[in-house]
């Protein structure tokens, strides 16, 4: 019935926009480089940093955004984590922020397969948009993507675990939401590292959907160690909550499994110092927010355009072990500095 009415309505009425593309404005043409990437006046730029929902990973965005506001004298930088990991709610939040006058958006999309539609919507309204912390599946419709290469980070983590195991043995992979494109990439990254050992290392199990909260992760890790603890020589966690849970569980159970975690939670860092966690793969959320806000302001003020619209840039991932646990932040800050230079030299075209 709905289809019939739709057809009747279409037949009886004219579509005002029928001749126009649905996607909004076309990609900005890149101008020749050579200009300055120093932001002239960012006072009219209001940047909104919008994660997919509340998660410890994004907390550095808040302070990095506030710092960027001061450093670059931006009109405003807000951090809003009320999307509750629901794409529909995030879309609503973004349009609400746009209505409140925010004109530049750094977004961690809830659904990598849907977020391009949202980016296209925002861009059609003349807003500057960056995909921060995660790139959309397929072609990126945002101005740029600044994120950890999740497949590479997972590969590094699995490789670190296999190396710590002496190049052979059985590992398990703990990760997040199975029906998420990024989780699928992480699974691929771990599988690649295992495959490269030529059968010496084996992947016993991939445990998904345990990054919802710490309690869920703790229960899953505890069950896993109880059931298969003796077979497991390595644990690779590519999600935050399972990483914290694995660090705790290995410490309390006295398991000899080599744990490679993700991010730099205080518990994980102290476990690395004590030797119960072998390594952790640290990402660069501060760099994402700082460089992201700066580049967004340059795009929003039209001082620069993208040389290649939609380009993806790796914000960096670092393997932290006992050796470099006290010094890794320097490497991360240096990476943020290099990122800024990369944007000024290669990514942006400034007049």
């Amino acid at each position: 019935m709905a289809v019939a009415v739709l057809a009747a309505a279409s037949a009886g009425c004219t579509l005002k926009n029928s001749g126009e593309p649905a996607g909004g404005r076309g990609p900005a043409s890149a101008r020749a480089g050579g200009g300055s990437a120093v932001l002239a006046d960012g006072s009219a730029t209001k940047v909104a940093l919008v994660p997919g929902g509340a998660h410890p990973y994004f907390q550095p965005w808040k302070s990095a955004g506030a710092d960027a506001k001061k450093t670059y004298r931006l009109g405003d930088v807000t951090f809003d984590e009320t999307a509750e990991w629901d794409q529909q709610k995030q879309n609503n939040l973004l349009s609400t922020l746009a209505a409140r006058g925010y004109n530049a958006f750094g977004v961690f999309g809830v659904s990598p397969t849907d977020i391009n539609t949202t980016f296209a919507d925002l861009k059609s309204q003349g807003l500057a948009v960056a995909s921060l912390g995660s790139c959309p599946a397929g072609r990126n419709e945002a101005d740029f993507c600044l994120s950890t290469d999740v497949e590479l980070a997972a590969y590094k983590a699995a490789k670190a675990a296999i190396d710590a195991m002496g190049g052979k043995g059985t590992i398990v992979h703990l990760t997040g939401n199975n029906v998420d494109a990024n989780t699928q990439l992480r699974i691929k990254g771990v599988a690649r590292a295992v495959k490269e050992t030529g059968g010496k290392a084996k992947l016993l199990q991939t445990v998904t959907d345990i990054d919802k909260d710490l309690q869920t992760a703790q229960k899953a890790v505890s069950d896993l160690l109880t059931a298969k603890g003796k077979q497991i020589q390595g644990i690779v966690s590519t999600a935050y909550n399972p990483a914290v849970a694995a660090a705790d569980a290995v410490k309390s159970s006295g398991s000899r499994a080599k744990v490679v975690a993700i991010d730099d939670d205080a518990k994980i860092l102290s476990s690395i110092k004590q030797g119960t966690v072998t390594a952790t793969v640290v990402q660069n959320p501060v760099g994402q927010a700082e460089v992201g806000a700066w580049a967004l302001a340059l795009l929003q003020t039209k001082q620069c355009t993208m040389r290649t619209p939609g380009r993806s840039v790796d914000s960096g991932s670092f393997v932290v072990t006992k050796k470099n646990v006290t010094t890794y932040d320097r490497a991360r800050k240096a990476k943020t500095g290099r990122l800024k230079k990369q944007f000024a030299d290669d990514v942006l075209a400034c007049g």
Binding site: A2, A9, G12, L15, D86, A99, D114, T117, N177
Partner: protein, 359 residues
């Protein structure tokens, strides 16, 4: 459009045989839907004054109405099973199940937009019918069966997406899908007169669902039988109503509407993915119960589901616009909803006392 069932034995025969007792009707302002309408309009006006951006047609009202349209269909999916005294805890997964078939149809079978929608609705109706059949055949409560169905579909849908797609989503977009998502009535013109930019074209499905269910419950024998089955199953059975078939019908309709909501949610966000419907269960109860549908069955309010959902949507959007944080937003939302429900109860009690005093 509240449709209660008349108590058994109510005389609706020809007037004049015996002088009817004076009927003391409650005043018009006790009407729950009127109260909701006043609240929706009042809160919209208040938010509009506090934050003028609330009245921005493109950035605020259009997405708000699009969301309300989808969530109203979700509320209707719950309402039809509430009408028979059951509940559907799998409403979100049924939405994901229906959307899976639509996505599969577009991605693998290259179906046009309407045929994919049809496939989605058929899949939703089938899974709803199966649920209803299990409930009637086993006699197990709808709570348990739909909870089990929720778990079963959670696994099945995830498994199928993982097996059939690379990114756990069907990303093919048939011709017309982008327009259905972004076009409003302003894009439809009859001569020089165009529609409102606030009403999305997606809302046509909600209107059809509202009209269809309104007609079913208010004008058809089957609708009345559904309500009587919910009000008193034993009496309904003794009256010759095939209660088993009516229960299956209610669950079939619920599955169909859930699948429609899943399709609308997928159109709204852009792709057909497993996480569609994850957050549908709470709004499904909230919209229908706020609107006046009884959890115990026998009374539904089709228009109330729309108003209840609108109230929640307006409050959420208004608080978002005022920049209220996540924790505070949920506290305020809870308080305002509690006030809305309390105000309705207070209104009813006050009106009832007035009527009693006047007799």
């Amino acid at each position: 459009m509240t449709m209660p069932v008349l108590p058994p034995g109510t005389d609706t025969g020809p007037a004049g045989a015996t002088p009817p007792r004076p009927v003391h009707r409650l005043p018009f302002w006790v009407n729950q839907r009127l109260g909701l309408l006043v609240l929706v309009i009042g809160l919209s006006a208040l938010f509009g004054v506090l934050q003028p951006a609330f009245l921005d047609a493109r950035l605020v009202l259009f997405p708000l109405v699009r969301d309300v349209s989808t969530l109203t269909v979700v509320a209707l999916a719950q309402m039809v099973v509430l009408s028979v005294g059951h509940m559907n805890l799998a409403v979100g997964r049924m939405a994901a199940f229906g959307a899976l078939f639509a996505g599969f149809g577009y991605d693998r079978l290259d179906l046009p937009l309407p045929l994919g929608l049809l496939l989605c609705l058929l899949a939703g109706a089938a899974i709803g019918a199966l649920t209803g059949w299990i409930i009637t055949r086993t006699g197990v409560s709808s709570f348990v069966v739909t909870l089990a169905m929720d778990f079963a579909l959670l696994g099945l849908v995830s498994l199928l997406y993982s097996a059939l797609t690379e990114n756990a989503a069907f990303t093919s977009r048939p011709s017309g899908l982008a327009e259905l998502r972004s076009y409003s009535l302003a894009d439809i013109c009859v001569g020089p007169v165009c529609g409102s930019p606030v009403i999305p074209q997606l809302a046509q499905f909600t209107v059809l669902a509202l009209v269809g269910l309104g007609f079913l419950y208010a004008r058809t024998r089957i609708g009345r039988e559904l309500l009587l089955t919910g009000a008193n199953p034993a009496a309904a059975e003794l009256s010759g109503i095939p209660t088993g078939r009516r229960l299956i019908l209610a669950h079939t309709l619920s599955g169909l509407l859930a699948a429609l909501a899943g399709f609308m949610a997928a159109v709204g966000t852009g792709t057909f993915r497993a996480s569609i419907g994850d957050d549908f269960m709470l709004p499904s109860f909230l919209g229908s119960v706020l609107g006046g549908t009884l959890l115990t069955g026998g009374v539904v309010s089709v228009l109330g589901a729309l108003l209840g959902t609108s109230l929640v949507g307006v409050i959420r959007k208004g608080l978002d616009l005022l920049g209220v944080g996540l924790e505070s937003l949920n506290i305020y939302l809870g308080c305002v909803l509690l006030l809305a429900l309390s105000a309705d109860r207070v209104r009813t009690v006050v009106a009832h006392r007035k009527v009693v005093r006047s007799t």
